[in-house]
């Protein structure tokens, strides 16, 4: 008797916990509402099955607990019942799968007007690069990376010259503009993840991976690394600031392009050479 009651309380507790939980999604700040909806749907269907199965089990425990001489049903198989259950399950599963696949189809097809952002991950931090006026990112190579060229941009690539380099872990994004995140890593696996945007993808060294989202809520969000990347994994954070157009443009203008950086460094180099020459002369 008490066994059934305790199991019943467990199920009841689970349902109540789900209804009254203070711990639930962060407010969504991107276009992936569909993911949340599919989760909710799965909760209804899956949760319903869970509760139904458990209640049936509890009922059996109440009703058929051991009694000497109880008449027990002897029926090894019931083809009809089994067929009904199989089909019902299949339909239920298909109903859950369909929206999942539809949203995945959106997830892998990036809209044409998406702004490409190069997210470069390293142990343990992030840096970002935006295309310049030509709207295209220059190609990169890990071996090109050095102090003068923090992103490893191919110096010969004309598209790379006007790339805007953000050498901090704060990325600003314009509201309601789709963003295609191009992920790369210089050392190990990482994953650029903002819980409020719902989306994520691993950064894999050697290849460029991508995903997209459309931020639709102004605010400041924390970036987390969601793929274990060594001892500093938990501390690998960054920030995304979603702004309206005016603030965004202001921020954008403050950033430095690759050619500016090269020019600055060349100037520095010349200055340095001058100093060296002076010293030599002296």
């Amino acid at each position: 008797m008490h066994v059934g009651i305790i199991f019943f309380l467990v199920i009841l507790g689970s349902v109540l916990f789900h209804i009254f939980t203070p711990w639930y999604w962060t407010d969504i700040a991107s276009n992936w509402q569909g993911m949340d909806d599919t989760i909710t749907l799965t909760f209804w269907v899956g949760g319903g099955v869970f509760v139904a199965v458990c209640l049936f089990m509890i009922y059996c425990v109440f009703k058929f607990s051991y009694k000497e001489g109880r008449k027990v049903e002897y029926k090894p198989e019931d083809k009809k019942l089994e067929r009904i259950l199989t089909w019902a399950t299949t339909i239920g599963v298909a109903a859950l799968l369909a929206p999942g696949l539809i949203i995945w189809n959106q997830y892998v097809n990036v809209p044409k007007n998406a702004l490409e952002v190069d997210v470069m991950a390293w142990q343990w931090g992030w840096q970002y690069r935006l295309p310049g006026e030509d709207g295209k990112l220059g190609t990169t190579k890990v071996v090109n990376i050095n102090d003068e060229n923090p992103f490893g941009i191919n110096p010969d690539d004309p598209f790379g010259q006007d790339d805007i380099m953000i050498q901090s872990d704060v990325l600003n994004l314009k509201i309601d503009r789709p963003v295609k995140i191009l992920l790369r890593s210089v050392d190990v696996l990482h994953n650029w993840y903002v819980p409020q945007f719902r989306s994520k993808m691993d950064a894999v060294p050697g290849v460029i991976t991508f995903y997209w989202f459309e931020p639709n809520k102004v605010g400041e969000y924390e970036v987390l690394c969601a793929e274990y990347c060594g001892v500093g994994h938990y501390a690998m954070r960054g920030t995304v600031i979603v702004q309206d157009e005016q603030n965004y443009n202001q921020w954008l203008n403050e950033q430095e392009t690759y050619s500016e950086l090269v020019a600055k460094q060349n100037k520095l180099e010349i200055e340095k050479n001058k100093i060296v020459k002076k010293i030599d002369l002296n």
Partner: protein
């Protein structure tokens, strides 16, 4: 019900029925079972202590050896989980806990529990003990190889444990051992630690292959007379299918271990692309980290079912015996086990939806993954329908089974979230995943293991475990474990990523501090409760009630041995002859509520037993 014995026999059976009306002397005919195909097996009987208990060739002793070794590693894994929960619930309380240590504990806990505890316990422990007994064989077919198998496993465990004591400590790369980080500076134990892990895994695979060949051939080629495939207990079906999976999945683990070892030792670049570390480009280049993930999960996903299928099989038997009712839809259960096993080779990349592999794979793997849900759901239905109109003994064993159903259904449902590709995107790599797999392949199989221990202990030791202690053990474990992992799903919803040493002050993470503390406290209690079982076993061995023969009134062959506990050779002078499936409980018209598999039809002619 299941497949018939060959036509000849059924004709004879019919004819004998007609004859029966005139004389009882022809009863021998309906009891006809084909004569033995296989000659008696020669057994090596050890006489010294060493050959009897250490290098023993008796599968039952080997099973117990496997069991004890696995339990030892399990206790190590349990202690590691305590340390992890200590850090997560109460950061900074343990002064020695650095991020390095935390990640090493995470890694070792995961690998120990999945491979060295659960796999070894189900296949090595229960497999060795139960297979020969349940199919009616004298022993495993290759006892010597079986013995070597255990000692390989033992060495693998020793190597694994040795990694705690090498410079740099054990590997801290997560149990998935993803390169490049697994073998690079920046991950704890990237020197000797990871090497010993890889060596240990390779040894485990080699040892397991020896054992697995034994299980398969014993089941396929050494069953007793009358034991058709469709008369085997579901336990045997579960272990059989899991072993097939292991034989085909472990090669991928072996290959990836070899390749990673070479990357580490010889500096090859199988998995290593060009890498910039600390401002310097390393010697590596041109390899593919994703290749490792494919190899690993081609092993890793079947591995989930290697743990789950024996649990499915065992729990079916336990439910049937203690509900005093035949398992519902036996044939469906068998095909579901086989089907799940086959499908498990086509779903591996659902662990890699956000790994950067070609995103179009997502469609295929999401579909195959959700297809698996159908046979799995059928199994759940059949378990609960078995309870329906049964005569359920609410004893410790049944409690564990009920606990299994609740936790397994819960974990299975969350599996549908994670298998459904776009739902996985927000949830993957968060605590939702941690909660899911602990519920479905940690707690649920553990429930079955515990149930199986309480069920078969009287056979192994000849004494009944104490029921009262058993119930305490169950309730603390079940309620505690459920309250650990059920709320943990919601941490995943908040967005807390897994494998975080500490959460800092991220707003949505700090909101869960209270929950983390609660989970940690529950984890300490549940862990401690496991020692109730150890106490119970020790107490029972000393003062327990003698079990006698067949205390549960079960049908399958292991309860019908010549002695309890069974001696080497299992069945005394003559092997048993099987006449029916093992689920003839509460047959209408029968005197008792069970008919053992060895009972010939002539002894139960007046019952309405279904033909099996």
């Amino acid at each position: 019900m299941s497949d018939e014995i060959d036509n000849k026999q059924s004709i004879q059976a019919q004819s004998s029925e007609t004859m029966n009306q005139y004389s009882g002397s022809a009863a021998a005919d309906i009891d006809y079972v084909r004569p033995a195909e296989i000659p008696e097996q020669d057994l090596y009987h050890g006489h010294s202590f060493i050959t009897k208990w250490v290098f023993c060739q008796d599968a039952k002793v080997i099973g117990v050896q496997y069991f004890l070794t696995a339990v030892f590693t399990g206790v190590v894994g349990l202690i590691l989980s305590w340390l992890m929960r200590l850090q997560l619930g109460f950061p900074g309380l343990a002064g020695f806990m650095t991020a390095e240590h935390y990640y090493q504990f995470v890694t070792m806990h995961g690998m120990i529990m999945v491979v060295y505890f659960l796999t070894a316990l189900f296949l090595g422990g229960f497999g060795n003990y139960l297979i020969p007994l349940m199919v009616g064989a004298r022993d495993m077919v290759f006892p010597y190889v079986n013995m070597i198998s255990f000692w390989m496993f033992f060495i693998a465990v020793a190597v694994l444990m040795a990694s705690f004591f090498v410079p740099g400590g054990p590997t801290g790369s997560g149990w998935t051992l993803y390169p490049p980080q697994a073998i690079l500076e920046g991950t704890p134990g990237s020197g000797m630690g990871i090497l010993l892990m890889l060596v240990s895994l390779s040894l485990f695979v080699i040892g397991f292959t020896m054992g697995g060949l034994n299980y398969l051939i014993t089941i396929l080629q050494a069953r007793t007379r009358g034991m058709t495939l469709m008369r085997m207990p579901l336990t045997v079906w579960g272990i059989f299918t899991a072993t097939v999976l292991a034989m085909l999945a472990f090669p991928a683990l072996l290959v990836s271990s070899i390749m990673m070892t070479l990357d580490k030792v010889l500096g090859t670049s199988f998995f290593m692309p060009t890498i910039l570390k600390a401002g310097e480009v390393l010697e590596y280049g041109g390899g593919s980290p994703i290749l490792f993930q494919h190899l690993f999960w081609f092993f890793g996903h079947p591995e989930v079912y290697i743990v789950a299928l024996p649990a499915f099989g065992i729990v079916s038997d336990l439910i049937s015996v203690h509900a005093r009712k035949n398992i519902f839809g036996y044939r469906m259960m068998v095909w579901a086990i086989v089907g799940i096993g086959a499908l498990s080779f086509f779903v591996w990349a659902h662990h890699m939806y956000v790994s950067g592999m070609n995103p179009w794979f997502g469609f295929f793997f999401a579909t195959t993954t959700l297809i698996i849900a159908v046979p799995t759901a059928m199994k759940v239905y059949n378990w609960i329908i078995t309870l329906w109109r049964g005569n359920i003994r609410i004893n410790t064993v049944m409690l564990w089974c009920l606990g299994f159903i609740v936790t397994f259904v819960n974990g299975g449902i969350t599996g549908i979230f994670l298998g459904n590709v776009s739902v996985d995107v927000p949830l993957s790599d968060t605590y939702f995943v941690v909660a899911h797999f602990h519920m479905v392949m940690g707690i649920a199989p553990l429930m079955v293991i515990m149930g199986a221990v309480y069920h078969w202990f009287p056979l192994v030791a000849g004494r009944m475990l104490h029921e009262g202690l058993g119930k305490w053990h169950f309730w603390i474990t079940f309620l505690g474990a459920y309250s650990i992992y059920f709320p943990m799903h919601y941490l995943g919803f908040i967005g807390v990523p897994r494998r975080y040493f500490e959460m800092y002050d991220s707003p949505y993470m700090t909101s869960a501090i209270g929950m983390n503390e609660f989970i940690s406290l529950a984890a300490f209690i549940v862990g401690a409760a496991q020692f109730i079982l150890i106490f119970n076993i020790i107490k029972t061995l000393k003062t327990g009630k003698p079990a006698g023969k067949n205390p549960w009134k079960a049908n399958s062959l292991e309860w019908h041995t010549s002695t309890v506990p069974p001696e080497h050779g299992n069945f005394g002078d003559r092997l048993p002859v099987v006449h029916r499936w093992p689920y003839d409980f509460s047959v209408p018209g029968a005197k008792e509520d069970f008919i053992p598999q060895t009972t010939p039809p002539s002894e139960v002619v007046h019952t309405e037993v279904e033909k099996t």
